[in-house]
Symmetry: D2
Subunit: 404 residues, 4 copies
């Protein structure tokens, strides 16, 4: 049987390349061999990275040149009561993070939300997008292509949907810049985050465009999608799920549990999250929504790079006519799935199970909706807690005590 | 000795709260008890989450309500040759991700960069910021506060620096919006990412402002910092490290290894990364820089929520006079550290060791600079690879083969 | 007969207020009286302001508290050949400005465009928007309102269109932020710029929303319209006319007439208009499109405050396969009309006549389309000229000679 | 003596070109000749355009190919009491516009501001910018250039200031994107708007950069200035004057004069100007600041294309502890001058006289500061009036009555 040492030796000798090892041994052995090579080159000790608790072969769809796994501490906030369109009841929120004080802060927010009877959450828009860019001769041809697309959406749909058993093409929106035409395809990808599905389906549709018109495909993604970039098109029009969570917290709870007042929280939200973000030229009008998004993405196998768009969120806070505190968080472009991608990895699948949303939903899409609602609620809890902490002035001391 | 079952029972009985368990047992037992509770409530199996390979007590500064750890597959790209201001030589780039094809893609980019003699990388600006917001009576008082700050920067520096043995206050920039005054404090935080240092130091400086002027602190962070939000202030002025990596790839290498041409890559970059992003109202003019940033952040213990600002990057590509391909990636606000935060956790420390940048640098700050340069190089490799793949039209098939 | 002196005396005595004078004398006398009052208070000589060449009564729909008129020098560039969707042939471009060198620069661009056989221009999207904001109880009600709107667009259309003989409601797009729901109504307003038509029609539709749902109208404009603000929603989705003009200039013409090369122009466009604007966090990826827009708006009676959105433009420049220069300008949100507003004033009507687009078009909307195409061509000429001037390094000397 | 008909004939014969006429006749005759040519080509009647009330020769620095003048109705709002840093007392605000209801609306706002004892206004930052872009070999050279600039600011200042008797170079800020280095020069240009001064001075400084380093100037403006584009760099860092006006209106006045309540105005401001603009991806967080800016720019000879940046404004509104209404408008980048440009034209000079700010101020810069404060006050009046109108629900009816 080939050992890791054997493989490493063959790499050293130039006989094998690092990414070819799985062809000559099982995945765990290949992984161990790479640790030897990398440790040798760098002087690093990779012992803990090698102490992963799953079969390397199971990570095959997720990684290449595997050397092990990174272990990120996992905590829970809650349970928090959620009244969602797809998720109802109490849930612990799984969060993987290295930022001390974060889970404690969100936990405090969950506790206050529960005291208010729970959070309301809804997905208000949904659709995964891919926007190829085509080159045309000039704007006359650009205009003709735009017309052609409007007249031939059915043909594009047929081509696109032939590639997928689940996905549905919702619409195609053209944008013209000089001799560039961008077509933003939007899909219902059900419980999948859907980037790959959308990319493959759009590729087929592009073939139709090229076959039927004079347009030439430049790139299957023309950045009007827009994936993993902080773009206004997502903040305005949404991508993945547009989801809001809100709650009304009574004045008593705000005062007793959060040691501040509804008026103070509303004022801080306005001066910091709205006016401060406005002056900063920001697409994120919130305190730290990205924290909840990143931690829950990591805990549930989402794509960490898509935290970028997840941070396109607006937090509002106001004093109600009754003197209570209304607070909401609206995430414009939360790209989540409960099937595919990293969701099958063991710890990540367990994270989904904690929320009760592992795998395909019933109806299809319901689990991804529910995940979006849970994340929005986590974000809401985080906003409520941090704004209140600022209100009662102990942000820096909280970090001094808990974090480092 | 208290067992996890004992603790869980006491939680069920309402005798203990979930976050109090560490007061009654060691950290691993407390963690196990929480798994019991969460599993019971949710029906989730948390076995793999519980199979973490470090002492729970070691994660104490990083997490609360710990139930275990999430394990994310770790791969390596490279080694790639980097000619940096702080890092020179060949490095494997550690990347933790669940997105299939990503490491392979960056690996291909590294290989091409090596064929060109390596990448050049430089940190061109540096400084961690915190921007409290103060309320004043009106704009007359706002203007007076701005003047006071300009005249009293020394006093603010003294107060701020009294809280830290390493950090230095670089400057304070005031911004006025009505009766709000935002003071953006910028610090040299050496090898620490520096958010906590900056927050604590700024807190002290705020006390001076409040004691000496009529201004009233509303929030220690007024969002002009701007942390974990996609904000233009960071894209323009930088936060953490502003870092660029570039390389010139010969036409032969582009054609033979990337199966495209310098002209095609430059054209795609213009139509997609520049014009497409422009039309999208984006702060990210790149293809997928967030992927490299997120994966290397995860592998080295950085704050995953700060991927948001890391994606404020601009990629350029052009054909040189000699017909070769010049390509660059400039990340405006890459917030990284090699001490503090998640960097002490075992797998993350190993990730830093792979790059040779664990702990404090010599001189102070050099390791964080080197980490920034390594990440920029990884991003460059990723851009080069994806743009070329688009050029040779196999993006969707690459995903179809490798990803899911 | 009442004289200006009489009226002024009554104002001084507190008998009349400044805006009431038209009730007691003809418009010119009232205007003269105000000049007396204002001159007296300020010491200003208002003689030239009073030497306007039209009946004050004719300006009644356009101004209140009239004291006279501002006279802005009017020049012409061209004639330039335009191959548009609505406008074809040679046109002088009327431009009112006080910026020396501007008309000369655009004139030079027109001359070069003619040498290339003219510019191509097309309106690729069209629609005037108004987006009221409604308050609802919470996000559950927000989602319900969004559904209601989707199901009741016909009722909204009926209400809206009842207020106008020309306008047509194209679509209504809902956006949710917490307990705020924004409904972006988009209209075909034909040859009118259409803000007032859209506002009035939307007001009626809002009554239906309030009558049929629990939503409460907060403001008839909720800033997602977005009028007279530099907003991404317009840059991405358009407002008024989305219009592009382009041209291909032969290498010979670029070299002989512009004293630069296609490559130099393309490089400057990339480094300045694309990369520089990207780094600036801009919604305007061009050199000085606002100059042409402002000057032609002024010359044709458009709303000068809408120059703000007119500047949401992207300029592209590239070397063609034949070595020539392709250049384009795409204006996302050019709000223009040839009826209503300032278009009836005598000098402004003459400006429209110079372009041959005064009054309603045939078919309806054709004149406003043609005006948009003419302005886009003027912008194209300006971009071509300035980029070339930068290429041949005489920007500062041009200003030194001509401007001040 | 040469007549207009003579000149026109020579143009028709191809003997003269349109822009050469001033070489053969006085300016008014040349202007008349062009009217003949343009009228003939277009069929337009240019009679009123020709009825301008100044010597065409006086417009020579402002226009080329002059055919006459556009006449825009001029009204006044106020007088309004202003307590500014540079302007104190009551002023009529001159406004040239064709938008019916605008002057009336701002006039109403002025009246309410007076009832509150006037507006406070202050310039909080000042400086005109020009940002050339240089090309370097790679990022290593970029970093070296950044260092060189930091070490040689004195030499750059000397070169820049040699070109101007008034201007002072305040600072130079470098920005790096790949092999592009942008240097943002910021000047105190006193009472001049300063674009030309800044351009010429920066041109000299660029010569020094090119002589002393390996950098090559690509364009004297690299769009990080940023002129006439809606850019975040201006919204964040300012350009021209950053100016704020504010006022506190008693509850009684709000109720009796504006027919609404402080709470309603604050709520509308939050839902529309803050949250609505946030969702729109806007750099303008206000209702219609551009209206006041455009109208006062036109009335005082400012550059109409710079309305684009003038609209980068944030409006705040809040209920004070006493139940009154605090309202403010902060304009980040208001580029104004009282000398040069269009300020010497007769009607425009009269507009400046109405404000008492014509020509150079004492100390230098005071008049331009005062003009900025006056415009900010006009914008404040407009915001107050429109927000209140929305509060009392008569926006559409106001337009129905007054506008068209």
């Amino acid at each position: 049987m080939t050992t890791a040492e054997d493989l490493a030796a063959r790499v050293r000798e130039g006989d094998l390349r690092l990414h070819e090892l799985e062809e000559h041994a099982d995945a765990d052995t290949a992984t161990a061999a790479r640790r030897l090579i990398v440790a040798e080159q760098s002087g690093a000790d990779l012992e803990t990275a090698g102490a992963y608790a799953f079969d390397a072969a199971d990570a095959d769809p997720n990684i290449e040149n595997m050397v092990g796994a990174v272990q990120v501490p996992l905590g829970v906030a809650g349970p928090v009561r959620i009244d969602g369109g797809a998720l109802s009841g109490e849930r612990y929120l799984p969060m993987a993070t290295t930022e001390g004080a974060l889970v404690a802060s969100i936990n405090r927010g969950c506790s206050v939300i529960n005291a208010a009877g729970g959070a309301t959450a809804r997905v208000t828009k949904s659709g995964m997008t891919r926007a190829p860019v085509f080159r045309v001769a000039d704007v006359a041809e650009a205009e003709a292509l735009v017309s052609w697309v409007r007249d031939n959406e059915a043909a594009l749909r047929e081509a696109a949907e032939a590639t997928t058993s689940h996905g549905e093409l919702l619409d195609v929106t053209p944008y013209v810049v000089g001799n560039n035409v961008y077509l933003r395809f939007r899909y219902d990808t059900k419980d999948a985050m859907g980037m790959n599905m959308a990319t493959i389906a759009t590729g087929e549709a592009c073939d139709v465009v090229e076959a039927e018109t004079g347009a030439s495909l430049v790139a299957l993604s023309g950045n009007l999608c827009s994936d993993k970039k902080p773009a206004a098109v997502n903040a305005v029009e949404g991508r993945g799920r547009s989801v809001t969570a809100d709650a009304t917290i009574s004045r008593e709870v705000v005062e007793e549990r959060l040691h501040t007042t509804p008026g103070a929280v509303a004022e801080i939200n306005t001066r910091k999250n709205l006016v401060g973000s406005a002056k900063a030229g920001s697409l994120g009008f919130n305190a730290h929504v990205a924290n909840a998004v990143a931690a829950m993405f990591l805990a549930t196998g989402q794509d960490e790079a898509q935290v970028v768009e997840g941070a396109n969120a607006i937090t509002t806070a106001e004093v109600t006519d009754d003197g209570d505190l209304y607070v909401s968080v609206s995430l414009a472009s939360l790209e989540v799935g409960t099937v595919g991608g990293g969701t099958k990895l063991p710890t990540q699948a367990e994270g989904l199970e904690v929320l009760g949303v592992r795998g395909g939903g019933d109806p299809a899409g319901a689990n991804a909706d529910a995940l979006a609602e849970a994340i929005a609620t986590g974000a809401l809890a985080g906003e409520l807690s941090l704004l209140s902490a600022l209100g009662s002035r102990h942000l820096s001391s909280a970090h001094a005590d808990l974090g480092r």
